[in-house]
C-alpha cells in the first residue's frame, strides 16, 4: 500500500511540471502586454521599463519560466500584479470558499444522484426508472446560470427566504453562511447529480446482472441487502472515479455559478486574473488546481482499493 502511494506521488511530479509549462506557454498567446495594461492611460516609458525590469518581462520565455518555477519551489507563487498581493495569500483567501461550495455541491450530487441511479437500475423499465431518467435529462440540459437566476427569483425575490448573493464566512455565522451557499451548491450539485445518476444506473445494471448477485439471491438474501451490500459496493468504482473528477472540476472554480451568485471563489479570482493579464495569479491558481486534481485522483484510487480488494495488490 505504501509503495503504491509512493509510486503515485512520484508520478504526480512530472504531471505538475508539464501542467505548469503548458499554462505558462498558453498565457503568452493572450494578446496585450502586462506593462502597458498596468500603466493605464498615461504611458510613461520609464514606468513601463521599470515594470518590465521588475517582472523580468524582457527575458526569453524559458528564463521567465525558470524564475517562476524557482519561486514555486521556494513556496513563492509570485505576486499578483493587479492586487499587489502574494498569489499564495489570494489562494489561501479564496480556497476555503471554493472548497466549501464544492463539498456542498458534491453532497447534493451524491445525495440525489446515487440513490436515484440505484433506484432506476433496480426498477429498470418501470415508472420509477422513467421518472429518474427524466429528472436526469432535465438536470443535464438546464444551464447552471439560468437555473441559478430562476432560484434567485423564487427564493430571494419572491419568497425572500434566502439571500440572492454574497458570502458570509462560516466562522462569522454558520446559518448565514449556509443560507448563502445553499442555492449555488444546489445549482452545481444538480448538474453533477444527473451525470452521477446515469453512471450509477449503468454500473448498477451491470452488477445486478452478474452471477454473484444471482448467488446472493439464491442464498435467500433480501432484495434490499442484495442491492446495498452485494451490488452497490461493486458498482462504486465508476461512481468514485466520476465523483473525484467532478469534485476536481468544482475546485477549479465554478465560473458561471460563482458569477451569478457573486461567490468570491476560485472561479471569480481566475476570471478577473485572466481579464487583467495577471499571469502570476492565473499560474498559481492553475498549479494549485492541478495539484488538487492529482490529490483527488489519488484519493479516488485509494477509495476504490478500499472497495475492491483486488485493486489492493496493484
Amino acid at each position: 500500500m505504501l509503495r503504491f502511494l509512493a509510486r503515485r506521488l512520484a508520478l504526480a511530479i512530472p504531471t505538475l511540471i508539464l501542467a505548469s509549462m503548458i499554462i505558462f506557454a498558453l498565457q503568452q498567446l493572450l494578446p496585450g502586454d502586462v506593462a502597458t495594461a498596468l500603466t493605464g492611460e498615461e504611458r510613461d516609458p520609464q514606468v513601463i521599463a521599470f515594470i518590465r525590469e521588475k517582472y523580468h518581462l524582457d527575458e526569453p520565455l524559458p528564463v521567465r519560466y525558470a524564475y517562476w518555477a524557482g519561486g514555486v519551489l521556494r513556496g513563492d507563487l509570485g505576486e499578483s500584479i493587479r492586487l499587489q498581493k502574494p498569489v499564495s495569500e489570494l489562494i489561501v483567501e479564496k480556497l476555503p470558499v471554493t472548497l466549501e461550495l464544492a463539498c456542498l455541491a458534491m453532497l447534493v450530487a451524491l445525495a440525489i444522484g446515487v440513490p436515484m441511479g440505484v433506484l432506476s437500475a433496480v426498477k429498470r423499465g418501470q415508472a420509477a426508472d422513467t421518472i429518474a431518467n427524466g429528472i436526469a435529462l432535465w438536470g443535464l440540459s438546464v444551464p447552471n446560470f439560468w437555473l441559478g437566476i430562476l432560484l434567485i427569483l423564487l427564493f430571494s425575490v419572491e419568497l425572500g427566504w434566502l439571500p440572492a448573493s454574497g458570502y458570509v464566512s462560516p466562522f462569522e455565522s454558520m446559518s448565514d453562511n449556509l443560507a448563502a451557499m445553499v442555492m449555488p451548491a444546489f445549482v452545481l450539485g444538480n448538474a453533477i447529480a444527473a451525470v452521477m445518476m446515469r453512471h450509477t444506473r449503468a454500473a448498477m445494471l451491470g452488477v445486478l446482472g452478474s452471477d454473484y448477485v444471482r448467488t446472493a439471491r439464491a442464498k435467500g438474501v433480501s432484495p434490499l441487502r442484495v442491492t446495498l451490500r452485494h451490488a452497490l459496493p461493486n458498482a462504486a468504482i465508476p461512481i468514485i472515479t466520476l465523483g473525484a473528477l467532478e469534485f476536481g472540476q468544482l475546485l477549479s472554480g465554478a465560473v458561471l455559478t460563482e458569477q451569478v451568485f457573486s461567490v468570491p471563489g476560485f472561479g471569480k479570482l481566475m476570471v478577473d486574473a485572466v481579464f487583467n493579464r495577471d499571469f502570476a495569479t492565473v499560474q498559481g491558481v492553475v498549479i494549485c488546481t492541478a495539484a488538487t486534481y492529482i490529490a483527488l485522483n489519488l484519493a479516488a484510487d485509494l477509495l476504490s482499493a478500499a472497495v475492491n480488494p483486488k485493486l489492493r495488490r496493484a
Binding site: D211, R214, T215, A216, A218, G220, S222
Partner: protein, 342 residues
Amino acid sequence: MTAPMTKPLLDVRDLAVAFDTDGGAVHAVNGVSYTLHEGETLGIVGESGSGKSVHVLAMLGLIPRPPGRITGGQVLFEGRDLLALKERELRKVRGGAIGFVFQDPMSSLNPGMTVAAQIIEPLRIHLGLDARAARVRAKELLDLVRIPNAGARLDQYPHEFSGGQRQRVMIAIGLSCRPKLLIADEATTALDVTVQAEIVGLVQELKRELGMAIIWITHDLGVVAGISDTVQVMYAGRILERGPVDDIFSDPRNAYTLGLLRSLPDLSGGRAGRRRLHQIEGAPPDMRHLPPGDPFAPRNAYATPRCRTEMPPLAQAPGAAPGHLVAAWYDLPQLLSREAAR
C-alpha cells in the same frame, strides 16, 4: 434409489417458462414434469438452450422477471407449491432447504466480500446464528469441503482462491444450511478436467455424509454417469427421456439420447474404440417458433411422419427397466437392430 412409494421431495408438474423478447416470446421450458425423492441424485443433461438451467432457476424465482415469465405448472417442494409462494416465503426456501452451486466459480462469488462473509450470510438468514456461531460454522464448512487451513482462509477474498477452491467455497455455501436438495447448475463446466473430477468426488462424499438429494445439471454425460441415480435428457424445453442411469446408457430409447451418447469419445477399447466421433446434424430449433411435433424431429434420421405433427407423451418405454420413460413415436431398439442387420 428411487422409492416410488414415498412422497417425493420435489414434484414438478407441467412447468412452462417463457421469455418475452422483441422478436416474440421465447418458449424456454415447455411442460416439464418429473419427481425427485429424498436422497436421490438426478442428472439433467441437455445442450445450451434446452431449458435445463432455466427451469430450476424459474422454480425458485431466480429468473429476471420481466422478461422471464412462468406460464404454467406447479412445483411442489415438500408438498408446498413454490410457484404460489410469496417472494418473502420463497426466500426462506432459497439457500435454506434448497442450496445452489452455480457454473462459474470465478464470477459467482462476490469479489468484494470475504469468503467468511459470504458463507455466513445464509447461516444468519436461515439458521439465525449470531456472528460468532456463524463464523465457527463457516470454518467447519470450509473444513467440510476440504479446504486446507480453513481458519486462516476465512478472511481472504475470492481472488485469493484457485478455481477449484472457489467451487469448493460455492459448495460450502450451497450446503451451509443443510439443504434437503442441492442444485448444481453446470458446477464443473468451467473447471479443468482434473479439478472437475475432484469436485465430483467431493460432492459424492458429501452426499454420503449428509444424504441430501441432488439435481446435477450438465451437458457432460460423463459426469452424469459418475454421479446420478437417474438421468433426464432435455431438449428444447422438454424431457425426451428419463430413467435409471445404467439403463439410459445401455438402452437409450430416444434418438437424441443416442446422439449424445454417440458423441462421447470412447476411450475404453483399443482399435475398436477408435471411431469417428458422431455429430448430431442440424441446430436446435428457434425457441420462438417451435415445430408442432417432437422438437428433435427435424434433426432425427429415425423420425416418423407423426413425429413432425404431434408431440409424443413421456411414457414408460416398452420392454425397458421400470421408470425408464421416453417421448418417442418410433421404436429405437427395433430401428437400430434393423440398421445393424443391413
